[in-house]
């Protein structure tokens, strides 16, 4: 910014790494050749229009046409669609779950023994913990550091849920957090609707913007882990630290061998269990592999779509309502369904909190397991948000809502806009007005009020108001006769007509001035806040 202070150069940190590029990256070059600024301008314009409007989709259309018209040959529609489908996630998240669902509906479970059910339950809970606690809270949000063996377990069993390798999952989820509610969000509920955010984004590769966002997040993530890795290599002589942030090698190996990992967890492990429990191989593969995988991944997908339905009945947004993430109503119930992630608004505001906002009486085994590992010393750097910070955020949000509410109300004419008259003028004016028009002017706290319409509604009686016509009733108003309520003051403020000159009282006693000033400031500030945060999407994209 200024030439003096060296800028923290993170560009080498986020440098493109050769390794780990999937086929998505090939297509990305099309976008990157485009004029970046123009692209960003478009996005900014759209973002300001307010995320979650259909307009964005409409605006998107011409752009697609432009880019596709530049291509020389257009594929037939069906081929085009097929090309844009993601084979891996379609099979894992659409076809296999559907198959499991139909099979379970159409045929009764057979050959299941109690021992097998124990295995099923155990495997289920281990995979859930690995997905929600490992994939999500550890790898993606890095809310703690853990032992290399635990990382390995997370990578294996989390991978068995069919949501992709750690790198795929993490980059997608980080992009979701960073670009929530915009087109860059890989599963944006507000832009593309619930069907897309639940299953659609598993079907298709997604639009270019989101793919680019994912790639950026992937680069950041990979390079961060690589940096940690390199740093460790430098201190080679020292004792190897086993409690680590996401280990680069594990990420790499898991990503490269994801298919074999799936084979292991969906086929081999169930077969071993079948051998031990004396149940048919196919039954075991079906339940331990497919059914378990489907349930867990659908849980996750449900969170991604339902958690962003802003107008879900009784949902709350205690920390930020700029974005769509909500805290679910009936938390206790939803915590079972969503495996401890029901406080989604909290999570989006404090992503690196390992509790995800769940309380001790909420169903959240991933939190419990992390805590137990922490007690055994297998986890450190456990990050839980300071309750003061939570309170601050909630306060800021409440203040925002309150400011909105305030700006909707009529607060009377602001004091600066009032004409100024001298006390002599006032006495003259009041006498005249009363004589000619029967208008009642009263001075309270240096401000002239026309109380004519109110005389007969005055709860204390007409006579008292009539006594004060043309006079200064400050003391009577403030307690000498009756100490008026706040509501009475508000009512009075709507009847202002002028301000007395040379009045030192005004500035000190009139509280409304501050009130009005604040509400305007706050409104301005809120608007500004929205723009800034959306500019940041832009900044993030440019980086």
């Amino acid at each position: 910014m200024n030439d003096g202070i060296p800028e923290f150069d993170f560009s080498d940190l986020v440098a493109r790494t050769n390794y780990g590029k999937n086929d998505d990256a090939e297509e990305l070059h099309i976008v990157e050749t485009k004029d970046e600024e123009a692209l960003d301008d478009i996005q900014m314009g759209q973002a300001v229009v307010s995320a979650g409007e259909n307009e964005e989709v409409v605006k998107e259309l011409p752009e697609i046409q432009v880019s596709s018209s530049t291509l020389k040959k257009r594929d037939p529609h069906i081929v085009h669609l097929l090309k844009r489908m993601s084979l891996q996630s379609t099979i894992l998240c659409i076809i296999l779950p559907l198959f499991s669902l139909f099979k379970i509906v159409l045929s009764r479970p057979q050959g299941v023994t109690p021992l097998f059910m124990y295995f099923f339950g155990f495997y289920m809970i281990i995979s859930q913990i690995s997905l929600f606690g490992g994939y999500h809270r550890f790898f993606t949000h890095q809310s703690f550091q853990t032992h290399i063996v635990v990382q390995l377990a997370y990578a294996i069993f989390g991978g068995s849920c069919g949501l992709g390798s750690v790198l795929q999952f993490t980059s997608q989820h980080l992009a979701h957090h960073r670009h929530q509610d915009t087109e860059r969000d890989p599963h944006s509920y507000s832009v593309y609707g619930w069907l897309f955010s639940m299953w659609g984004h598993r079907f298709f590769l997604g639009n270019r913007k989101s793919r680019r966002a994912i790639q950026e997040c992937r680069n950041t993530f990979v390079s961060t882990s690589m940096m940690v890795h390199n740093k460790r290599l430098k201190h080679d002589g020292e004792k190897e630290v086993l409690l680590q942030p996401p280990n680069h090698e594990i990420l790499k190996v898991q990503d490269e061998n994801y298919v074999s990992l799936l084979l292991l967890t969906l086929i081999v492990i169930p077969c071993l269990v079948a051998l031990y429990c004396q149940v048919p191989y196919w039954t075991s593969v079906y339940y331990l592999g497919f059914v378990r995988m489907s349930i867990i991944q659908q849980q996750w997908l449900l969170l991604g779509s339902l958690g962003h339905i802003k107008n879900l009945p009784f949902a709350t947004q205690p920390f930020s309502n700029i974005r769509s993430a909500i805290n679910f109503p009936v938390t206790f119930f939803w915590q079972f369904i969503l495996f401890g992630e029901a406080n989604h608004n909290f999570h989006h505001e404090f992503p690196s909190d390992y509790t995800a906002g769940s309380r001790w009486y909420h169903w959240d085994p991933s939190k419990w397991s992390i805590w137990i590992l922490y007690q055994f010393g297998l986890v450190n750097h456990l990050h839980a948000t300071n309750s003061q910070q939570v309170e601050k955020c909630a306060l800021q949000q409440q203040q925002k809502l309150l400011d909105q509410e305030k700006s909707k109300l009529k607060w009377g004419i602001s004091i600066e806009k009032l004409p100024i008259i001298s006390p002599e003028q006032f006495s003259e004016l009041a006498r005249q007005q009363y004589a000619n028009n029967k208008r009642a002017l009263v001075v309270i706290e240096g401000i002239v009020h026309d109380v004519t319409p109110f005389i007969h509604n005055h709860p204390g009686g007409t006579a008292l108001v009539q006594l004060s016509i043309g006079k200064d009733a400050t003391q009577a108003f403030n307690g000498a006769v009756y100490s008026h309520s706040q509501a009475a003051r508000n009512l009075l403020a709507t009847m202002r007509i002028a301000m007395l000159s040379s009045n030192e009282q005004v500035k000190q006693t009139v509280w409304e001035k501050r009130m009005l000033q604040q509400s305007q400031d706050n409104q301005r500030r809120n608007n500004r806040q929205v723009t800034y945060t959306q500019k940041n999407h832009y900044a993030a994209g440019a980086a």
Partner: protein, 486 residues
């Protein structure tokens, strides 16, 4: 200011008390037995004194001198010799002894319980309750609507059945309560304890030091109020005890049961329910409109008192004919008044504008937020920070390890490195540098919470970066006047 007339406070207080008018003197058979006469007689001297601080202080001193030896009974300690002087025996009989007889007769089995009588007692209870809340309270005390004579007569007659005094007496006390809420002049001053505001104020003799008077001319102008006050004892005896016995006797052949259940015990219940407005409604519940005084909103109190439990609203908007404004809040009195207006028995229902009500809500919420905010550490204000130029910064960097510049603000993050959720490595490589872009999305777009944490670590502002700093601070709601304007 000097050029302008001020309101003559003495005159205003005379007006507020209604002492300027020659109102019809309405007396009832009990006369001085009610014990309230001495509390309302105020002469011109008293008004002057009540309006001028010096006078009040002087009078207090005089009173102190005069009564140095002798104290009013309410100021004397309770002893075995004077305990009976503390009590207002008429009220004692009306609200303690008579209901106790009822309970004795009921529990001893002398009065058999007849389901039909009980049902009638409930019905009669509801009629009496509605007369108190809609009639005594919202119509006469607060003039929140106007009623035609049949409705007023109904309220006046069945209001008697509750044995809570005449409209004139009740309305006067209630107006005082609203004018002097939470002061010694408040007849049922909630600050003096739950028990005092519930029944104590009736059973004990009041201190004449705190005498006060409210304008009730509009009440005495009403012939129904005058009539009721004049014949109060007869009306009370008839509606509270004789009528229920006769009705139950004639229809269910249960004269005695009617007297006990629909008379004595019903009177006890309705009295206690009414007292709850003075006691419970100032003790339990929340204060969404204003917390400077004791009244509170609570659904439980509302349930007991025909909807008068939304007392915080009521004290803020006393002339509103409603007490509950939300659809789900229980306020049958409001419904009764509204229904009667539909059939033409009442008119001119007063309502405060929704705007005014929302304003009060918003202001109170703001007050609560400000209070909460003051308990939290929001970090130093930008204006309180020193301004550093490049040399300053470089010098400081050599001395202190954890300095990072973000958006023109220097932060000392040394205490936070280990806690940083994104890892120590990232933060360490940014030490001594400008990490604005990395913080704002280059590496990670930090949340609002992160901004709050960061703000607590502010050390200084960079010389050329003030504008950026102001913008940055504005993101978490801090407002500074931009230097640009100057």
């Amino acid at each position: 200011m000097s050029k302008m007339d001020e309101v003559d406070l003495v005159q205003a207080n005379v007006l507020a008390a209604g002492a300027n008018k020659k109102s019809v003197r309405v007396v009832n058979g009990f006369g001085s037995l009610m014990g309230s006469k001495g509390m309302v007689e105020m002469d011109s001297k008293a008004f002057k004194e009540a309006s001028q601080m010096e006078e009040i202080l002087k009078r207090d001193q005089e009173d102190k001198d005069r009564y140095a030896g002798k104290k009013h009974i309410s100021e004397q300690p309770w002893t075995l010799n004077n305990w009976h002087k503390h009590l207002n025996w008429l009220n004692m009989i009306l609200v303690v002894f008579i209901p106790s007889i009822g309970w004795y007769l009921a529990f001893s089995g002398k009065a058999k319980m007849n389901p039909k009588t009980i049902a009638f007692a409930f019905l009669y209870y509801a009629m009496g309750g509605a007369s108190i809340t809609a009639g005594y309270h919202r119509l006469w005390s607060h003039r929140s609507f106007s009623a035609r004579w049949p409705l007023r007569l109904f309220f006046a007659i069945f209001g008697c059945a509750n044995v809570e005094g005449s409209i004139k007496w009740w309305g006067h006390g209630h107006r005082l309560h609203h004018r002097y809420t939470d002061t010694y002049r408040d007849p049922y001053d909630a600050r003096r304890g739950l028990w005092f505001s519930h029944m104590g104020w009736m059973l004990l003799k009041p201190n004449p030091k705190y005498r006060a008077r409210a304008d009730i001319e509009d009440l005495t102008d009403d012939w129904i109020v005058r009539f009721q006050h004049r014949h109060y004892i007869l009306l009370m005896a008839f509606t509270a005890f004789i009528l229920p016995s006769l009705v139950c006797g004639y229809f269910f052949n249960d004269y005695f049961g009617g007297f006990v259940y629909a008379g004595l015990i019903r009177v006890f219940c309705i009295q206690q329910a009414t007292f709850c407005i003075n006691s419970m409604a100032h003790y339990i519940g929340d204060q969404p409109f204003d917390d400077r005084r004791t009244p509170r909103d609570n659904w439980l109190t509302a349930l007991v008192t025909f909807g008068e439990g939304y007392h915080n609203f009521h004290h803020e908007f006393p002339t509103d004919y409603r007490n509950a404004i939300k659809w789900y809040q229980y306020d049958p009195t409001k419904v009764i008044i509204y229904t009667s207006s539909l059939i033409g028995l009442s008119f001119d229902l007063k309502k405060f504008s929704q705007n005014a009500i929302q304003q009060a809500l918003v202001q109170q919420q703001q007050k609560k937020l400000d209070r909460k905010r003051s308990h939290l550490n929001w970090g130093p204000q930008l204006t309180d920070l020193p301004v550093w130029d490049k040399q300053d910064f470089l010098r400081e960097v050599n001395e202190r390890k954890g300095l990072v510049v973000i958006s023109g603000i220097v932060h000392d993050v040394s205490g936070y490195i280990a806690e940083h959720p994104g890892g120590e490595t990232l933060i360490q490589s940014a030490l001594g540098k400008d990490a604005t872009r990395a913080f704002n999305g280059g590496v990670y777009r930090h949340s609002n919470a992160a901004h709050n944490v960061l703000a607590t670590m502010r050390v200084a502002v960079v010389k050329d970066g003030q504008e950026a700093a102001i913008k940055f601070a504005a993101r978490r709601g801090e407002v500074y006047k931009t230097a640009k304007a100057e």
